[in-house]
């Protein structure tokens, strides 16, 4: 709304500036043009005088030049006498056309190329409002900034890594997993995800490094399905097809009939030339319709999306909470924390934060008033 009001004000100002000289009583420049020439010629005469004194022009030439200028002065004066003064009324159609055309062209043009629906998105505001707006990209930035300050936050890296993976920054994802692993110690899930990121960064090829990571993961958790899947894939890419097929077949035997990875594994087996074992019937007589690997990944991604997002929000909210416990002077930060708690559905913690904020800011009248407003608005 404010945008349209600004447009209207701008347009009104433009019309005012363009039309005001057309008012019937507006001052108009009606000095005869010959008098402008006269002003210059008189000045030229005095300049000639100066030049002559400075010896820039010989006396005889100066006289000739003076005659030249004087002749021009006479001509200008004659012209001045003959100039006619004509004050004509401004044609009415001009004002009307202006009033109609200016807003029409401006608005029409704007609607063609403008984006009135799109607010400005300054970076700092985006990062500050990341949690409230569920702005993934901005959240990533915020976590990155946090990790630049505190690179030893294992949970931060673990939260960031899957997000990188989903937006296609596979190498960054692998690096983030690596850091999380270094800080939190071996963990089969993290290791497998790191390996998977490396594979994706490498266009589907299992590098030596990735293979080592998968094997370590399998050693740590022998039943880890994803790790086993990739170990077999690595074997197949090495040319050990039989071992790969054996690995996958064993995987299928241990999987539930409706396991989401079943189709992917079956495809791998058949493309490697192995026999796909019959899946046991699912209770209810329905055949499992597992998606292909890529689709499965997408689906997984979407599932992760929600959970990652919550994880990320939570990690950031906790960080904010800690910061405010140490230094609670920033009212805006408190309000952000309170709103974020509400977004996460943690009403108790929001109320708690509100009380702590009121305690920390009790000397600041304005802040207390704003906190009260928030308390009312959120019904705490």
């Amino acid at each position: 709304m404010l945008l349209w009001i600004s447009f209207a004000v701008l347009t009104a100002l433009v019309l005012l500036a363009l039309l005001s000289p057309l008012r019937p009583r507006a001052k108009q420049a009606d000095v005869e043009r010959a008098s402008f020439d006269l002003a210059v010629y008189r000045d030229q005469l005095s300049e000639l005088e100066r030049d002559q004194k400075a010896g820039l022009i010989p006396d005889t030439e100066a006289d000739a030049a003076r005659n030249e200028v004087s002749r021009r002065i006479l001509a200008a004066q004659a012209e001045l006498a003959s100039e006619e003064k004509a004050a004509r009324p401004v044609p009415a159609w001009l004002s009307i056309a202006t009033v109609v055309a200016v807003p029409l062209i401006a608005l029409g043009g704007y609607l063609q190329i403008g984006r009135p629906d799109l607010p400005a998105q300054p970076l700092q505001a985006r990062i500050d409002g990341a949690v409230g707006n569920q702005d993934m990209a901005a959240m990533v930035r915020q976590v990155e900034a946090h990790l630049e300050q505190q690179p030893n936050d294992a949970r931060g890296w673990a939260v960031l890594a899957p997000v990188y993976k989903r937006v296609g920054r596979y190498q960054d994802a692998a690096n983030a997993y690596r850091k999380a692993l270094a800080l939190s110690g071996p963990d089969a899930d993290l290791m497998t995800d790191m390996g998977e990121s490396l594979v994706l960064a490498n266009n589907g090829l299992v590098s030596n490094e990735a293979q080592e990571v998968f094997e370590a993961a399998q050693k740590a958790a022998p039943k880890h399905m994803k790790a086993r899947f990739y170990v077999a894939l690595a074997q197949r890419q090495e040319g050990k097809t039989a071992e790969a097929i054996a690995g996958w077949t064993a995987m299928l035997a241990e999987s539930a009939p409706d396991a989401p990875w079943r189709t992917a594994v079956e495809q791998q087996i058949s493309s490697a030339g192995g026999d796909v074992p019959k899946a046991p019937a699912v209770a209810g007589g329905q055949m499992p319709k597992g998606p292909a690997l890529t689709e499965e990944q997408i689906q997984q991604g979407q599932q992760m999306n929600a959970s990652d997002r919550t994880a990320m929000i939570r990690s950031m909210v906790e960080g904010l909470d800690e910061r405010l416990t140490e230094d609670g002077a920033d009212i805006d930060a408190w309000l952000r924390l309170i709103r974020a708690r509400m977004v996460l559905g943690e009403k108790d913690k929001a109320a708690d934060a509100l009380n702590r904020a009121a305690e920390a800011l009790k000397d600041n009248q304005q802040a207390v008033a704003r906190l009260e407003e928030t308390r009312k608005a959120l019904g705490l």
Binding site: L3, S6, F7, L10, V14, L18, S20, P21, L22, A26, K27, Q28, A29, D30, V31, R33, S35, F36, D37, A39, V40, Y41, Q44, L45, E47, R50, D51, A54, L56, I57, P58, E61, A64, A65, E68, V69, R72, Q77, L80, A86, A87, R88, V90, L94, T98, V102, A106, G109, Y110, I113, G114, P116, L118, A120, Q121, P122, L123, Q124, R126, A137
Partner: protein, 659 residues
């Protein structure tokens, strides 16, 4: 909201420009004072709107609003604030916005200070300015909109080309544009005069200061660009006859000619038709320069817009304005009355020679710049026209001009005695001879032509000083009288002397760097010493550096002379985020006899580095010379005779011919 306001203001500016063009033009044709009075407020309003739009774009850059495509493509949140701001015009769309903003600024300056212009001339000048605005604003809105939005917005920008992240280049484009676009005033005056069919006395009074201002900006802009190329690109040169450089040099040459011919129109009411042609040509070459750089027909550092659709549009604008103006000239110029008479040997005659040589020199540059492009577009052959061509064509044209520069001011108006003028310069000739001999003694091994060049520079400087002494009648009158005369000299006289001396200083600098440059390329390990000129340079070693948006290896060097350490300099190889583009920072230590210039090269085995050393004798004189030319322009601009008042209304003129 801010980007959208900028967008809307830009569209309103376009609508205003249409109004600014059509209504005053119609009013001047009808002789209607009220319609003509529309011009000044429209011009000022247009500037206000474009400035608002520009401010909105700048704001989006400062706050890193990556929902604006232009910001996303050319900025990065890690950039220092000054380069966030300079990033606004470090790209195609933003620089065009700056271009039209400067155009509107000049238009509103005519509106504000033009009270001493006849109303119909003023209305037409502003209308012609408006028509240029219409063309370029429509170009921006249709093909190069800086306010295109992205949804969803990326979280980080792609960054500005690192070699453009430099203080000199932050102000180089605005200055250059003030120069280019300032010439539009001379153009608008010329076209308005052609439409009127008469050149008013006030016409020349106006054209000259505006051309002078544009010329000064152009001088400063070209110098900064050249200085930037000198210290940033690390090629160890200052002028490369690169098409982009030529694009700004051609309007400069014509503006210089125009500057001088406008003196004749102003003082003597002669050469009017020729001056109008020069005014048209000067701005036409600015447009050609804009076309060359903006259309991407050249592929060089500056050509960041490689888009044929845009090129065709600019070419269209070019044809309409240049073709239209020249057609109008062909049609109307014969009706313009010619003015004062003069003998061939006179100050006027000397200025005509100046004009002819400058125009011919410009033609040589024009052919050298455009011929390869035309040839390539017709036959597909790629040829490159380099310094040898320009030395052979531009050189022989500019040398006689430089030789003749001191003669002009010694001649009187209307009719002069060449021999007497030459005789008055004997002292300067002696100085030139002495300087030449001294140069030969200093660099006796050097090319034999170089001392002549230095002598030429000395001739120009000495003659300028001598002219000043002659004007104050120094030594022939008591000192205090001479001092009083010196103080009483008009600003234009000071301007001419300083600018002409500046040309001399620059000539010496150019000769120095061209004839006596030293270049050494070597591989050095830390601790090794290399002799460069008369000094020894020690490679101290290298260390890694982290800047705000780059990482670098910094090589440090210490300079010593006669066993005494003088100073320490460094040169860096930088790698910029996020593009990983490498750049080189040159190390320069200025001495009175020239610059010691060090470029850190690639790594070599055994911890060694390739290092390039240059010694650039007297290069500072190039910058000093151009700065003097600029200063001369300032002096001349503040001359009192440009303060002719506006005529009072309803004064009965008294017939008062010659006193």
């Amino acid at each position: 909201m801010i980007p959208e306001i900028g967008q809307f203001a830009l569209i309103l500016a376009f609508v205003t420009a249409i109004y600014q063009f059509s209504v005053p033009m119609y009013g001047a044709w009808r002789g209607d004072g009220r319609l003509m009075a529309v011009a000044p407020p429209a011009a000022m309003l247009q500037f206000g709107l474009i400035a608002l739009s520009f401010a909105c774009l700048t704001m989006s850059y400062i706050v890193s609003d990556f929902s604006v495509e232009n910001v996303f493509q050319n900025s990065h949140s890690d950039k220092p604030l000054i380069y966030k701001i300079s990033g606004v015009w470090g790209n195609h769309e933003g620089s065009l916005l700056l271009w039209v903003m400067v155009l509107a600024l000049f238009g509103s300056a005519v509106a504000m200070f033009g009270s001493n212009l006849p109303p119909s001339l003023k209305a037409r000048v502003i209308a012609v300015q408006g028509s240029i605005s219409v063309a370029f604003l429509s170009f921006i809105l249709l093909t190069s909109n800086p306010f295109n939005r992205l949804d969803p917005a990326p979280i980080e920008g792609q960054g500005l080309n690192p070699i453009l992240q430099d203080p000199a280049l932050a102000i180089h484009p605005p200055l250059l544009y003030c120069g280019y676009v300032g010439l539009s005033i001379a153009f608008s005056f010329a076209v308005a005069a052609l439409i009127e069919g008469k050149v008013d006395a006030a016409w020349a009074r106006w054209v000259r200061p505006w051309t002078l201002a544009a010329w000064m900006f152009l001088t400063a802009g070209i110098m900064l660009g050249s200085w930037w190329a000198y210290y940033e690109l690390g090629w160890g040169g200052w002028w490369f006859w690169d098409p982009v450089e030529n694009a700004s040099f051609m309007p400069w040459l014509i503006a210089t000619a125009l500057l001088h011919s406008a003196i004749v129109v102003e003082k003597r009411n002669a050469l009017k038709v020729w001056t109008i042609l020069l005014a048209i040509l000067a701005f036409s070459l600015s447009l050609v320069g804009t076309f060359l750089v903006r259309s991407g027909v050249l592929t060089s550092v500056h050509a960041f817009a490689v888009d044929p659709a845009r090129g065709v549009y600019v070419l269209g604008i070019l044809c309409v304005f240049i073709g239209g103006a020249l057609a109008l000239y062909a049609w109307r110029a014969p009706t313009i009355k010619t003015g004062g008479l003069f003998a061939p040997i006179s100050r006027e005659g000397a200025l005509v020679v100046n004009n002819l040589l400058l125009t011919a020199a410009c033609a040589a540059v024009f052919i050298g710049t455009l011929y390869p492009l035309v040839l390539e577009s017709i036959t597909g052959d790629k040829i490159s026209v380099g310094p040898p061509y320009f030395n052979l064509t531009f050189g022989p044209l500019i040398l006689p001009l430089l030789l003749l520069v001191p003669l002009g001011p010694m001649m009187s108006w209307k009719r002069a005695d060449m021999w007497a003028a030459a005789q008055r310069l004997w002292a300067a000739a002696v100085v030139a001879l002495v300087v030449g001999v001294a140069a030969m003694a200093w660099q006796w091994r050097g090319p034999w032509l170089a001392p002549f060049g230095v002598a030429l520079g000395g001739w120009l400087i000495a003659a300028a000083i001598q002219e000043m002494l002659a004007r104050t009648k120094f030594l022939s009158v008591p000192l205090n009288v001479a001092w009083a005369r010196l103080k009483g000299l008009p600003g234009a006289a000071w301007g001419m002397m300083i600018a002409h001396a500046g040309v001399g200083v620059m000539v010496i600098g150019v000769v120095g760097i061209t004839a006596w440059k030293q270049e050494i390329v070597t591989v050095m390990k830390p601790g090794e010493v290399m002799q460069v000129g008369s000094r020894n340079v020690t490679f101290l070693g290298e260390s890694p550096i982290t800047g705000p948006n780059y990482t670098a290896d910094r090589g440090r060097f210490s300079i010593s002379s006669g066993g005494v350490e003088i100073s320490e300099i460094w040169s860096e190889k930088r790698v910029f985020k996020p593009s990983n583009q490498p750049t080189t920072e040159v190390g320069i230590e200025p001495f009175i006899d020239g610059d010691l210039y060090v470029v850190l090269g690639d790594r070599a085995p055994d911890n060694a580095r390739t290092v390039r050393f240059y010694f650039h004798p007297l290069v500072w004189m190039i910058w000093l010379g151009t700065a003097l030319m600029f200063l001369g322009g300032c002096c001349s601009l503040f001359d009192r005779r440009y303060r002719v008042g506006a005529p009072k209304k309803a004064t009965t003129p008294v017939v008062q011919p010659a006193e």
